[in-house]
């Protein structure tokens, strides 16, 4: 029982009341029941992490463009983006113009951009590199096992939500679990009135009272979702796939399901040929969706609780190929967004002339990003990362 005292303090009063009847029975309640009850209730009001996986290998060099680097134009004779079109980051760097919607987050200081994030001895297979990002492991044999977020949620047997698509390895843990959710209908009540009546009054029976409280909570959540489903509360999302998924995620957050980790993906970044318009379209979909997501959360007064990170399994070859595309490269750009984030460029741009097998060397180990997010934002253990990684100044000091 001692084990839980420290964690109990972090619960809100409401959570505590909800759990207290169970904890009062602690000597009689097997530990596993106490643990699951806590896992089901302790997460509310805590910091939330949203991960957006950019599938296929995002072209880093045309995402954060080093326009002042004389090498850039040579590497990208047809794909280069003109300086005048870029969203200015620094005197030498600019964001791809399709990312313009991110300007709002950038100006508010709520967007950190980390170029050159990767790992030693980069692997250029989609599958293997993605597995490395998911597991933070390099051993072939561990690439199919548990994920960095799954491991971090293991001690608390936490739950993560995958919005759209199957549960990714990143969310797999030994004791934590992940729920795949693609349809809002899964958490809307078909007959809310009937559900309200069938819940019944407070019960004396401990187990029945527990189920009833949860049932009432479920109705409140479903009610909230139903209202949100009718009207978007003024949030305007673009009609893109990623926007639809982030909108669903925002609804889940508003309905207070209690999970602290949400995950989704945007695919299509494997741009081997004629990538100019494809890549611009993808970046624009990303920027528009993320911006709308934070606007929505801001209006719902939830944004302060949320940090979003976006990553891709690798960047692309710095030199464009013969078909106006790019091939599988190495380190890439990571975006970290949210009001808690210390915005701006973080870490250095990869050097375009000091190459290793034709590609630039990474400048920031991705596990430093993970360690910082886990420890400084979620307050979760980092020992699942398989080493100690120095924190990055990613977050603002708490006010």
């Amino acid at each position: 029982v001692i084990l839980y005292i420290g964690e109990l303090i972090m619960l809100t009063r409401r959570d505590f009341l909800r759990s207290s009847s169970l904890f009062a029975l602690a000597p009689a309640v097997p530990l596993f029941i106490a643990r699951t009850a806590r896992a089901a209730t302790a997460d509310k009001n805590g910091h939330v992490l949203v991960v957006v996986q950019l599938d296929g290998g995002n072209d880093a060099l045309n995402t954060v463009v080093p326009h002042a680097d004389p090498g850039y134009e040579k590497l990208r004779p047809t794909l280069r983006v003109a300086k005048k079109d870029l969203v200015k980051l620094t005197d030498t760097l600019g964001l791809h113009p399709a990312l313009k919607p991110l300007g709002k987050l950038l100006d508010a200081g709520h967007l950190a951009i980390l170029p050159g994030v990767g790992y030693p001895n980069p692997n250029r297979s989609h599958f293997e590199s993605m597995a490395i990002w998911h597991t933070a492991r390099f051993d072939d044999e561990e690439l199919r096992s548990y994920g960095w977020l799954g491991r971090a949620l293991d001690p608390s047997a936490g739950t993560a939500y995958m919005v759209g698509g199957a549960v990714p390895t990143a969310l797999r843990g030994r004791r934590s679990s992940a729920v795949a959710l693609a349809r809002i209908e899964d958490i809307l009540l078909a007959d809310p009135a009937a559900a309200r009546h069938s819940a019944g009054p407070e019960a004396n029976d401990d187990l029945l009272a527990f189920v009833r409280r949860q049932a009432v909570d479920a109705q409140v959540a479903a009610d909230k979702l139903a209202r949100l489903n009718g009207a978007d509360g003024g949030a305007r999302y673009p009609g893109t796939g990623l926007a639809v998924r982030l909108k669903l995620m925002a609804r889940l957050l508003k309905a207070d399901l209690g999970a602290r980790v949400f995950y989704t993906a945007q695919s299509g970044y494997d741009t081997h040929a004629n990538q100019r318009f494809t890549h611009a379209g993808l970046l624009n979909e990303f920027a528009g969706a993320v911006t709308a997501f934070f606007d929505d959360l801001q209006a719902a007064k939830l944004a302060e609780r949320v940090t979003l990170i976006a990553f891709s399994e690798f960047g692309r070859t710095i030199k464009e190929n013969g078909s106006a595309g790019t091939d599988h490269g190495t380190a890439g750009v990571v975006f970290v967004a949210g009001p808690g984030v210390a915005g701006g460029m973080l870490g250095s741009m990869p050097n375009l002339t000091e190459l290793d097998r034709g590609e630039p060397k990474m400048t920031t180990d991705f596990r430093r990003v993970y360690a910082t997010v886990l420890n400084n934002w979620l307050g979760l253990p980092t020992d699942g990362l398989g080493g100690t990684f120095e924190a990055l100044p990613l977050f603002r000091a708490p006010a």
């Binding site: 069938s198 819940a199 049932a215």
Partner: protein, 446 residues
């Protein structure tokens, strides 16, 4: 084991009569719920006959004659198509129609114990093979079950056994074998895990069957749980089976399966574990002791357990007699997954958290929506809507709302509606009334 107060056999008396409430209780716990005809039959025949049918594997006397052949065809088609969704439907078919609900329930228990997810294995054929193995040994000796289960190719793949080789140990299988399949946390050290992994080196699957690769096996001395030898995987399993912690863990597992919260005092559990050990962890014996016990039929053990999604889904369809037409078992499997129990895809190697952890927002919403869907029909793949007056009329309750309420309360809960419940459902009629009963907090317990 000398039967003590705790494990003395149940004999009906004034305090614990053999009434409808206890018959419903028995079927909810030992099976997936029963039809009105089955309940009445058992009420008439008495506890011995009812228990005998369940334990012998013939509780569902109305199982289709061609059940086994149909089930095999469904499984083979699912495997041939490589569609895990259809394999899930196959299992729900077995649970809904099969002659042996207790056998299916135990198979589900062992699927949870040796949790293996197709999401990683990616081979419906291996998943089916494993499921058949679990079913074959479901009420046999735990040593047979364990030995067969840890050699199942699906489990070996799930726990990275093929990657575990001499000089490159992968601890996954060794750790779960100790932590989850046998001893439980606290009964071994990290050093034991490392040594266990070495003993298991070379275990792999070849062409869908268990195989040992001598070239990958580390044949040096290992010290596991204080014993040193050139242990192989088979030796390791034997060593683990000898540990009292294993029988204790299986005792706890069986008690959690069949008892509700707080229903087994620690002394009772200890006694049961000792008995299991004396009987070489004979699962069938253990289940028999539990289901025949006074403890099982006491008031304090009735409606004190949260129904798992599979129990809720199959139990609803069975109790309401939805056999012809039946809901689509594909849809039943999908509804169960929405409630949080996706068979063949448990959330992790620890299986489903179970108990109170089943009770969460998404799960409760899915349960209420399922109740409405299965009664209406189409959203549960059923070609007809449920006629709420049909059974009440047939069994003499009349088709009026009062009769519909009384019949369904007795069918689902084994008791009459209290005034409070009547108040809650006041104004609701027909299918809506039945859906409300199924969605009550009481309806989630069994």
């Amino acid at each position: 084991m000398a039967p003590t107060e705790h494990w003395r056999a149940y004999e009906p008396d004034a305090k614990a009569p053999w009434d409808l409430r206890r018959v419903v209780h028995l079927h909810r716990r030992a099976g997936f719920g029963a039809t009105w005809a089955e309940l009445q039959q058992d009420l008439k025949d008495g506890p011995e006959a009812a228990l005998e049918r369940l334990l012998r594997g013939s509780a569902n006397t109305a199982a289709p004659i061609e059940f086994a052949a149909t089930a095999d065809t469904l499984a083979e088609a699912a495997v041939a198509a490589g569609e895990i969704g259809r394999l899930k439907a196959w299992w729900f078919y077995r649970m809904l129609f099969g002659p042996d609900p207790l056998g299916e329930k135990l198979t589900l228990l062992w699927h949870d114990h040796f949790a293996t997810a197709n999401a990683k294995v990616g081979d419906p054929g291996l998943m089916r093979r494993q499921n058949d193995t679990l079913r074959k040994h479901a009420r046999g000796k735990f040593s047979d079950l364990l030995n067969a289960s840890v050699r199942e190719p699906a489990l070996l793949a799930f726990l990275d056994a093929p990657a575990n080789r001499k000089g490159h140990p992968n601890e996954n299988l060794g750790r779960e074998l100790m932590e989850l399949f046998t001893l439980g946390v606290g009964h071994y050290t990290e050093a034991d895990v490392k040594e266990a992994a070495r003993a298991l080196t070379g275990w792999t699957a070849h062409e869908g069957k268990f195989a040992q690769d001598p070239a990958k096996h580390d044949d040096g001395d290992k010290t596991v749980l204080g014993k040193t030898g050139k242990w192989t995987g088979a030796d390791l399993v034997r060593l683990l089976l000898e540990q009292p912690a294993t029988s204790e863990r299986i005792a706890l597992k069986l008690c959690r399966q069949f008892f509700g919260e707080k229903a087994t005092p620690p002394e009772a559990l200890k006694e049961f574990a000792a008995g299991l050990r004396e009987h070489e962890i004979d699962i069938g014996w253990g289940v028999g002791v539990i289901l025949r016990s006074k403890l099982f039929f006491t008031d304090a053990n009735i409606r004190t357990r949260v129904l798992s999604p599979v129990e809720y889904v199959v139990g609803t369809a069975r109790a309401l007699g939805m056999f012809d037409p039946a809901p689509s078992t594909l849809a039943l499997a999908d509804w169960s997954a929405r409630m949080g129990q996706d068979v063949f895809d448990p959330p992790n190697v620890g299986g489903w958290p179970g108990g109170r952890a089943w009770v969460h927002t998404r799960g409760l919403i899915a349960r209420a929506n399922f109740a409405a869907a299965v009664l209406t029909g189409p959203n549960a793949g059923r070609s007809a809507a449920y006629d709420p007056s049909l059974l009440p009329s047939q069994y003499g309750f009349g088709g009026e709302p009062a009769g519909v309420l009384t019949f369904h309360c007795r069918l689902l809960f084994g008791i009459d509606a209290t005034d409070e419940v009547r108040q809650r459902v006041a104004g609701a009629e027909g299918r809506k009334l039945v859906a409300m009963l199924l969605s009550t907090p009481e309806g989630q317990l069994g």
